[in-house]
Amino acid sequence: MSELNKLGLAEARDALRRGETTSLELTEACLGAIQDAGALNAFVHHTPEIAIERARAADARIGAGDAPAMCGLPIGIKDLFCTRGVPSQAASRILEGFVPEYESTVSQQLADAGAVMLGKLNMDEFAMGSSNETSTYGNAINPWRRGNDDAALTPGGSSGGSAAAVAADLCLAATGTDTGGSIRQPAAFTGITGIKPTYGRCSRWGIIAFASSLDQAGPMTKSVRDAAIMLGAMCGHDAKDSTSADLPVPDFEALLSGDIRGRRIGIPREYRMDGMPARIERLWTDGADMLRDAGAEIVDISLPHTKYALPAYYVIAPAEASSNLARYDGVRYGHRAALARGDGITEMYEKTRAEGFGHEVQRRVMIGTYVLSAGFYDAYYNRARKVRTLIRRDFENVFASGIDAILTPATPSAAFGLGEMTDADPVRMYLNDVFTVTVNLAGLPGISVPAGVDEQGLPLGLQLIGRPWEEGDLLNTAYALETAAGFVAKPGKWW
């Protein structure tokens, strides 16, 4: 078989089980593709020795008739996941040189399911960003370009390296994490599928924390079926995460029938933003038509507090970040600033954090510090948490009225150029998350599915939002949308 790295998880799994290829061949094809793709800056820590060792072990398991869900399938791991013996630094200078003595629950479960880790993937620093431009490793580059224009585009963020790597066939799939849209927005920008499950589905243990009440891990894949396979391997109860849900994990793949007859799909009128590009609007209408043609009923719905989701998010997420990132103080791990004569512990903290954190991270930690500080806690933080209650209630009301899933655009635009937002104020960058952030605030599952291309040939995604814990039904609706949209475009190889 040629170009094994271009396979998806399901195809590769089936080929392995039929004995048509080996994990070692798949893994070597991916390692070769990674070597040729330095220009994308997607993989930032390479682990070929681990990959080869796991591939051989997987081939032995397959040979012995013991092939769990991800057995022998080469994947990339976002740098936010702690991986034993392999640098894990959340794309931050402050964790330079940090090599964990432990493995995150999600990456351990993937390894237990036979997955082969190829290396660690680029991202925004501490997952704070929407363009992968805040990484200490430099920008990850989108394999897609605008027609024949060679301007470098963002793969989105924060899981930009994961998105670029999957879209460019450097790996079969990758892990991502999503706090405000960090799986779904980069998936949409690179023409791949990404699902953020219900809060509590995936253990957060060993994933470097950004905003603990919003963070969730999820798969970034080449198809909805692949997302179902990989999500199943990532989910499950973990005693080491107190918010991990003790619920059975269904066989998500077995639920992909494509039959959505009678499903009620909501179209939220508040997501029709002023100044939305006509192409995005048409994509959304086309998506609704596809679901209707597949037998679903399309219903206009209202989520009245949508407008307040972003401002609430930009209080809550920085507040949690300021607490979580307090641990980076130059004492237990990572960077410590060189001290001048007479410097005490306060100078050590302040210099270490000034040197170790990038600009966006510093800004968010300080905003979080401010909204939690005495005198402002009620005005900002508590008010934002009350608005969060209202945002969740909006969704509860809609689901209680019989809506099964909600269809929205995934992003307000296609991928933009790297550097294009450099001079914009921070709030303009935050607007990238306008359609995705509500889902994190409400703790719901959301999936981005590639559904079309814009005038310049760049991919565009649609988002489906599901009921809590019903990822199986959500994936099935996404599967029907994927089938109808028939998105097959791939970026031309220039790297």
């Binding site: 090599v99 809060y199 237990r332 954090r353 401010y370």
Partner: protein
């Protein structure tokens, strides 16, 4: 509400991030842009609304109050910038 340079310096101090004097005006201006955006929340009627404290309503699991882990100081210290004699080392804290 708007943040002046003194407040920006105070926030930086609370966050234990050194910000040079000449960077304070730009920082204060960025804070004001973001806080201006956040101010929209004041339009929402939140009377009688409880703040959201748990994402999914669930009772946290309990376990026996016993030691389940530990006894590996070498691993704990393996990433420390400065570790001596089984301890994390820091500059002098108390005179």
């Amino acid at each position: 509400m708007s943040i002046d340079q003194d407040s920006a310096a105070k926030v930086a101090k609370l966050a234990r991030i050194r910000v040079e004097e000449d960077a304070l005006p730009a920082l204060a201006s960025e804070f004001n842009t973001i806080l201006g955006f956040i101010e929209q929340l004041n339009e929402v009627d939140v009377a009688d609304v409880e703040p959201m404290t748990s994402v999914t309503p669930m009772r946290l699991k309990r376990r026996p109050d016993i030691v389940t882990d530990g006894g590996r100081p070498d691993k704990i210290l393996s990433n420390a910038p400065d570790a001596r004699e089984g301890f994390f080392a820091v500059p002098k804290v108390v005179e």
